[in-house]
């Protein structure tokens, strides 16, 4: 989904609150944990030595419990909070070195923010709220209202343009908040626990809507969340934070299957692994593979008894079909097969009901492996 140009670069970023915050940066203090630092110096380190790079077009989730510094980190990306040390670079521009006017321009053109508390202006209607960013940017009234209306329609609020925030439900208010950000059509969207204040059902709905919007026109989304399921559902990559430090950063599957340390494992123990792990990682190599060209020459009893089938491929490893024990050939387009990115959860029914191991095929039609019910079960045990 993402081309790999880093759009936001976070380099050795520190944010320390208190008097003379630079005290926290010396070697001795760096080795202390947050509690010890606070006890000895009275300083509060919100973000400690964070280095991340976020590519354009990806949904990057920063996850952690409250007080882990994730909101502070987000606010340093658009310069609402200035770092104590280190630098955030957005599209090549170092945020802390920009003049006020340049920073305002960057915020107007590149980044829009969605807030946990919605932060809608109470005396403005939904339409006027959605048009706020454009109004600040100096877009003429007619044009900005037109764009704001489009944005509201995109989030499904086309009928409530003239209502005030207090007349809208929480979910609707956050849709206005989202529309206010989308109206600017920014390449970067910063979402600060945007769905945390909503009911579970509405939250789910909003998550799906966000994914739909992302599929329509991909932007870089930095999403702050304390909800693990939300992080796993939305995130292309997740950075897990604790006490201001990034414990691990990677795809949901990496964090789940290869946790960097005990803390990460602890965090992820309640995650439904079946909805994260994809079949290509658990597929086993087929016991018997027959090249299409050799098919006629082979004896039918050559394939494995254990797997009951032989997979047929051509010279480029492209999957062509399955040769069953009774000599019957099922061509690729007729038989069951799984694509690589199918999650185990989605594969379960098919695998359980099939009479033989199901082939797993990559996006280029090449054979990756096969997956049997037994293999599937073991993958759930041994994660």
């Amino acid at each position: 989904m993402s081309d790999m140009t880093p759009q936001i670069n976070i380099d050795k970023l520190w944010k320390v609150f208190g008097e003379h915050p630079e005290r926290a940066l010396d070697d001795l203090c760096q080795s202390m944990d947050a509690e010890e630092l606070n006890a000895r110096t009275g300083l509060k380190a919100a973000v400690r030595d964070v280095t991340l790079s976020i590519s354009s077009g990806e949904i990057f989730v920063v996850m952690g419990l409250s007080g882990s510094g994730k909101s502070t980190l987000l606010r340093m990306i658009n310069g609402l909070i200035l770092p104590t040390a280190g630098e955030v670079t957005v599209e090549g521009k170092p945020i802390s070195q920009l003049a006020a006017a340049e920073l305002q321009k960057l915020r107007s053109n590149k980044m829009a923010m969605v807030f946990q508390s919605f932060a809608l202006f109470p005396q403005r209607t939904a339409l006027e709220n959605a048009a706020f960013g454009l109004e600040v940017a100096g877009v003429p009234r007619q044009k900005r209202l037109e764009k704001a209306r489009e944005a509201l329609e995109r989030v499904g609020l086309g009928k409530d343009l003239d209502r005030l925030p207090q007349q809208l439900s929480g979910g609707m208010q956050q849709r206005v908040g989202l529309a206010r950000a989308l109206a600017l059509d920014p390449p970067i969207l910063l979402m600060d626990e945007a769905f945390s204040a909503l009911d579970p059902l509405i939250r789910r709905e909003m998550q799906e809507q966000l994914l739909e919007l992302q599929a329509e026109s991909p932007r870089t989304i930095v999403f702050i969340s304390h909800d693990l399921d939300e992080a796993v559902r939305l995130g292309d990559r997740i950075a897990l934070m604790k006490e201001g430090k990034v414990l691990q950063c990677g795809t949901p599957r990496e964090l789940l299957c290869k946790p960097a340390n005990e803390q990460v494992r602890h965090f992820f123990q309640d995650v439904d692994a079946a909805s994260v792990i994809t079949v290509d990682t658990v597929a086993e190599s087929p016991a018997c593979v027959i090249n299409q060209a050799e098919l006629l020459l082979q004896q039918t009893d050559q394939y494995s008894k254990a797997q009951k089938i032989a997979c047929i491929i051509d010279e480029n490893n492209v999957f062509k079909g399955v040769l069953q024990q009774n000599g019957e050939i099922i061509p690729a387009e007729k038989g069951p097969a799984l694509t690589a990115e199918t999650t185990i959860r989605d594969a379960m029914e098919l695998v359980a009901n099939a009479p033989y191991p199901i082939p797993v095929i990559g996006s280029d039609q090449r054979l990756i492996g096969v997956i049997s019910p037994r293999r599937l079960l073991r993958s759930m045990i041994l994660r």
Binding site: A119, F121, Q123, V136
Partner: protein, 304 residues
């Protein structure tokens, strides 16, 4: 005991602090006369113009106008009440003093708001300005009002101008304080939202802070007008004229009836001013567009 009291009274003469103040006032009198002259003319012009405007419509026209305003902004019953009240003032023969009191209140309030609101805004945005403003406001509010009547008289003589200035000083603190409070109370996430969407400091003030501070700010406006009205009575001692004069005459001649009439007229004026300015602070006012307000106004006549 007797000795102690004598000692106390003996020491109550001008001390070094008072000497300093006297010297300052004298120096200003000798050297800043042109400045006082300009201020004198400006305030006299403003207060005079307002009084002229208020005198143009006859009582039978002005009273219904005020009642219509009351019906539109407050309620029909309050409109009837204010019409009755104004008739009572007219009946007591205090219409002209009331008009000159009203003119003085309006002039002093306009000046207090013109000076006070910007000070409040600056104080809210710069903490060190507030550190200066705050003790000055405390001083203005707690210093007995009579004390600054004295220099006001020395600079401007007696009459409308020193009264307006004394009233202005006395009534300014609430609008400064409530403007400060209103801006400070704007939720931090709204400020963050404003900044995150690219507001410059000026846009933040006009598009985020002031609209959200408006209800509190309007409460400050209301308080300033009410304080101005209460000061006007005291200002009559230095020739402010109007209803204060009537009350003062009542006190000097021990005429209970005259004092009561003057006081009653002040109360009627106060109630009308209070309710009308409070209605401006009501949050629905700022939200209605001009056509909506016009529609609400015409509804008065079309609906029963």
């Amino acid at each position: 005991m007797k000795y102690v009291i004598c000692q106390v009274f003996a020491t109550v003469s001008t001390g070094p602090v008072g000497e300093g103040m006297t010297k300052t006032v004298e120096w200003l009198l000798n050297h800043a006369q042109p400045v006082f002259l300009v201020i004198d003319h400006a305030i006299n012009g403003l207060a005079g113009a307002i009084e002229q405007i208020l005198t143009v419509p006859a009582p039978w026209l002005l009273a219904p106008l005020i009642a219509i305003l009351a019906a539109w902004r407050v309620s029909l019953s309050f409109a009837i009440l204010s019409l009755l009240g104004l008739n009572l003032v007219l009946f007591m023969g205090l219409w002209q003093p009331m008009i000159s009191t009203l003119a003085l209140v309006i002039a002093a309030s306009i000046l207090a708001l013109l000076i006070g609101i910007p000070i409040g805004i600056f104080s809210a945005r710069r903490q060190h300005i507030w550190a200066i403003t705050r003790p000055v406001l405390d001083l203005m509010q707690t210093m007995p009002a009579f004390v600054y009547l004295i220099p006001a008289v020395m600079f401007f003589g007696t009459g409308r101008v020193p009264s307006t200035i004394a009233t202005l000083i006395f009534s300014m603190p609430p609008v400064v304080r409530l403007t400060y409070l209103g801006i400070r109370q704007v939720p931090i996430d709204l400020i963050e939202a404003g900044r995150a969407f690219g507001c410059s400091e000026r846009q933040l003030l006009w598009k985020v802070q002031l609209p959200n501070a408006l209800p509190t700010l309007m409460a400050g406006v209301n308080q300033t007008i009410m304080l101005a009205l209460s000061m006007v009575v005291i200002a009559s001692m230095i020739g402010g004229g109007g209803l204060g004069d009537v009350v003062l005459r009542g006190i000097q001649q021990l005429d209970v009836g005259l004092g009561f009439e003057g006081g009653l007229a002040v109360v009627i004026l106060a109630v009308i001013l209070d309710r009308l300015t409070q209605s401006l602070a009501a949050s629905n006012f700022s939200r209605k567009s001009l056509p909506q307000r016009f529609k609400a106004f015409t509804n008065l006549w079309t609906s029963s």
